[in-house]
Every structure is written in structure tokens, then in C-alpha cells.
């Protein structure tokens, strides 16, 4: 345990440098720079709102555009983080083959990089909340809870995916199918209530992303206090997946070098 901490401290400068590198590479060449991370969710929100607002009129969601942008932003964060982590080890093969670096640095870096992007996007959400006149509430202090537990969940998934990708490169194609299905099984655009109580609604209900997104909406938009169940599921998914990810990654990491 002690040596794990010292290695991590030794390489935290690397972690920071890799994140800054990704940010620089992402934003250096674009005219609007970091603004893109804020504009992107706004533009997607406009499109979704134009298409779906009349469709779901009957459900009567308050501030439907805010409902859309919050779901969409959190979902994108999760997809970006896990997709980044998925290829992180394989993409860093040049480095891994030449220098000893603790390998978990790479998926961890991608997840944290996406988290930084999420923070930029949150600014857009807060601006929209101001525009729509959402009143400040104490429940907003809980906003970090879904974000942090979701990051843990993404980290766990990222470690699992990164490990599989080393051995089977086509996992990324499978995962893109999975993420598309996941998009439709998460109440991002549609309201939960419309699903009735069939089999699909069970899947949607126990889908981890549903917990994170509705937790976020409850505390940020609807000033509703989360229940104990919400908290347990959010952290439960986060902790369980992180542990599974660490176990799988650790068991296989010495063999990575032979396959990349």
C-alpha cells in the first residue's frame, strides 16, 4: 500500500502533464478554444429541443431544455471518458514499450481529462439555469455527489474496457454498439414515466446512468432531496465497478506488453 502511494505521488506530475497535453492538443487548433466545450451541449440541446419538445409535451416536464442538456452532458461525459480509457493503453504502446510507467495512469488520465471537459460543459448548464430562472436551492450543494460517483463508475468501466481492448481490439466496435443501446436505455430525452412498467422500464430503472442523471436533475433542477436508495445505488455502482476494474486490470497488466 505504501509503495503504491509513493509511485502514485512520483507520477502525479506525469498525470497532470498528460491532462494538460490533451487539453492543449484538443483546443490549440480551434478558433473558439475552450468555448467549444460549452457551446457543444448548448447546440445539441437546441437540436433535441426542437425535435422532441412537442413530442413529449404531454409529460409536462418543467424546463424541458434543461432536462435535455443535463442528461445529454452527463451521458457524453461518461461516453467520452470510457471511450478514451478504452484505447488509452493501446494508444500509449510506444511509451509503455520503452519506459516503465504504472499503466493505470493512462485510463485514469483519460477519465480525468473528460472530467475537466465536463466542468467546462457544466458552465453551460449553469448559464442555462440562470436564463430559465431556476432558483438557487440548498440541494445544489449535492451536485458533486452524482458527478464524483459517476466518475468512479466511469473509471471502473474504463479499466475493464482498457484491459479487454489490449487483448481484443474489436472490443471498441462492440462497445460502440453498446453505447448506442445505452443511449436509448437512459432517460436523456424521454421522461421515465412514459415507459410504463414493462421489462424495458426495469432495465432503464436499474441502469447506473439513470441513477446519476436523475440524481443530478433532482438536486440541480428540481430542488428535490435524494433518497437513501439514490445515494446507495450511485456510490454502490461506483465502488463496485472501480473494484472490479482494479482487480481485472491488475491481474492482466503484466501481460499487456506482449500484446501491444
Amino acid at each position: 500500500m505504501h509503495s503504491i502511494m509513493t509511485t502514485f505521488l512520483r507520477y502525479r506530475f506525469l498525470l497532470g502533464n498528460l491532462i494538460t497535453r490533451d487539453l492543449k492538443v484538443k483546443y490549440r487548433r480551434s478558433f473558439l478554444g475552450i468555448l467549444w466545450s460549452m457551446l457543444n451541449p448548448l447546440l445539441i440541446m437546441l437540436v433535441l429541443n426542437a425535435v422532441f419538445s412537442s413530442l413529449f409535451k404531454a409529460a409536462k416536464i418543467d424546463n424541458f431544455p434543461l432536462y435535455l442538456i443535463s442528461g445529454q452532458t452527463l451521458y457524453s461525459f461518461f461516453i467520452e471518458a470510457t471511450n478514451g480509457a478504452l484505447t488509452s493503453v493501446v494508444d500509449s504502446s510506444a511509451l509503455i514499450k520503452k519506459v516503465y510507467i504504472p499503466k493505470y495512469i493512462f485510463p485514469l488520465e483519460k477519465v480525468l481529462f473528460s472530467f475537466v471537459n465536463l466542468l467546462f460543459s457544466l458552465v453551460a448548464i449553469f448559464v442555462m439555469m440562470l436564463i430559465y430562472g431556476v432558483k438557487p436551492a440548498f440541494t445544489m450543494l449535492l451536485i458533486p455527489v452524482p458527478l464524483l460517483s459517476m466518475t468512479m463508475f466511469a473509471m471502473g468501466m474504463g479499466l475493464i474496457l482498457a484491459t479487454f481492448c489490449v487483448f481484443f481490439r474489436d472490443i471498441r466496435h462492440l462497445y460502440s454498439v453498446l453505447t448506442t443501446a445505452w443511449l436509448y436505455l437512459t432517460p436523456i430525452i424521454y421522461p421515465m414515466e412514459l415507459l410504463g412498467d414493462g421489462f424495458i422500464s426495469k432495465i432503464v430503472k436499474y441502469n447506473p446512468l439513470t441513477y446519476y442523471i436523475s440524481y443530478f436533475r433532482n438536486v440541480a433542477l428540481f430542488s428535490t432531496l435524494p433518497t437513501l436508495e439514490d445515494n446507495l445505488f450511485c456510490f454502490g455502482y461506483g465502488i463496485v465497478f472501480t473494484i472490479i476494474g482494479i482487480v481485472i486490470f491488475k491481474a492482466k497488466q503484466d501481460r499487456f506488453i506482449l500484446h501491444i
Binding site: 497535453r21 492543449k24 510506444a94 511509451l95 514499450k97 520503452k98 519506459v99 481484443f168 506488453i257
Partner: protein
């Protein structure tokens, strides 16, 4: 007896050789179905043991495919040996293919910090040696230019400068002294000798027997993954050339 910094004990490295590498799930299932998932194992290193003493320049010679690079990778901790152990006392700086950690989109300055952190050094330490690195690489005028616009010689110079200015306790060189023009090569050799006097242990792999003779104190000769002999430079080099 001199202090030992690298202790390699009974190291055996086995690889699974597959005629065609299976790296997709689809292939894996097809082959499992057809029962074509057979591996033949190949021993890249077999029962290799030796010590490197503190402050010496240690050469490794051998033909292509004799296991030299595998051995260096095991010493640097990149590969885990199948059997045996390799223990390293002190910080280690690999010079295997210079500039592996460079990002072409970043400038020379940013890459110095990135590469330093890849080697596990802190920001404060990199700040303190930044000027020395730039000076040694002679790239003052290009330091804020993106690396992708550097020539390969310039990249190699920067890589060599970073790896040696950090003054590691153990420096590993894999055929990298052949970088840059002859003037820079001379500078590299001087730097290696300078590091040596500063108590740095250097491990060199080279095909140039001349270079090994000039620089090394002791030499290890590998053949087909086995140690043929370890000993004084002249003795081993003479035997190696003789066959």
C-alpha cells in the same frame, strides 16, 4: 567487493509464439471453434544471471535476436520475467529509442517537461535543470517550436539531453549513441564518461565493438538467450569476435 546496483538472478523469459497473432474477439472465437489456438513457446532468455557494480560501464554484446533488448526491458521493469528476478537499486533512466515519450503536437519546451515526468521526475526538479537540457541539446532557437517540425537528429539530441542531464543513477542505452552528427556523437560519449565519474552506472547495448572497447569496463556476451561469458572488456570482445 564493489556495491551492486543491478542484480539479475536466474532470469528466464518465455514468449508464446503464435503463427498469426490473434487480437480480435472474432478471430479468437473462430479459432477456438476450429481448435487452432495452439501456441509454441520460445525462450528469449534462459537462466541469465549477472551483477552490475555501481559506477561501472557495462556492455552487452550479441548477435541480432540473442535477447539483448529483452534483457534491457526486464532490467527497466517494462517486462516481467517468466522466472527469476531483476533487482535495481536506485533511479533508472532508459535511453531506449530516444524521444519515445515526445508528443509531436507540443513544443520542445513542453516536451521536456512531459518527457521528464514520463521518467518520473517532479516539476520542481525539471525547472531546475531545464536550462542545462536546452544548452546541451543546442536547440535554444527552436525550443518553442512544435516537435513535429524538428528533424530526427534534433529530436534525438533533445531526448539524449533529457535522459542524461537528469543524472540518473543507472542509465540504459540501446544502440542510441549513433545519433546526430559526429560532433554530437563525440559530445554524447564525453557525457557518458562524465556521468560515469559522477557515479552513474551505465548499461550499453551496441553492435559496435569499437565503441564497447572504448567505453566499457566489463562486458556480457549473450547467445541465443544464454550467457556465454561475463568478464573484462578485452577478453570478452576478443572471444566474441573470434566466434
Amino acid at each position: 567487493m564493489a556495491e551492486r546496483t543491478v542484480i539479475v538472478k536466474n532470469v528466464t523469459m518465455e514468449f508464446n509464439m503464435v503463427s498469426e497473432k490473434v487480437d480480435s474477439l472474432k478471430e479468437y472465437f473462430i479459432r477456438m471453434f476450429k481448435r487452432q489456438l495452439n501456441f509454441t513457446s520460445f525462450k528469449a532468455l534462459e537462466d541469465v544471471s549477472f551483477d552490475v557494480h555501481k559506477g561501472e560501464i557495462f556492455g552487452i554484446v550479441g548477435l541480432n535476436g540473442s535477447g539483448k533488448s529483452t534483457l534491457l526491458k526486464i532490467i527497466s521493469g517494462i517486462l516481467k520475467p517468466t522466472k527469476g528476478s531483476a533487482e535495481v537499486v536506485g533511479t533508472l533512466s532508459p535511453l531506449i529509442e530516444l524521444g519515445a515519450g515526445f508528443d509531436p503536437e507540443l513544443t520542445g519546451r513542453e516536451n521536456i517537461y512531459l518527457n521528464g515526468s514520463v521518467l518520473g521526475y517532479s516539476r520542481r526538479f525539471m525547472d531546475s535543470i531545464f536550462d542545462d537540457i536546452v544548452e546541451f541539446s543546442e536547440l535554444e532557437n527552436f525550443i518553442d517550436m512544435q516537435i513535429k517540425n524538428y528533424s530526427s537528429g534534433m529530436q534525438a539530441r533533445l531526448g539524449f539531453s533529457i535522459a542524461t542531464v537528469v543524472k540518473p543513477q543507472i542509465l540504459i542505452c540501446d544502440e542510441v549513441l549513433a545519433v546526430g552528427d559526429f560532433k554530437f556523437q563525440k559530445k554524447c560519449e564525453c557525457r557518458i564518461q562524465e556521468l560515469m565519474s559522477g557515479n552513474t552506472t551505465v548499461i550499453i547495448v551496441s553492435h559496435s565493438i569499437k565503441q564497447i572497447r572504448e567505453l566499457c569496463d566489463r562486458v556480457l556476451w549473450l547467445k541465443d538467450g544464454k550467457v556465454v561469458m561475463v568478464g573484462e572488456t578485452e577478453e570478452v570482445c576478443d572471444m566474441y569476435i573470434a566466434g
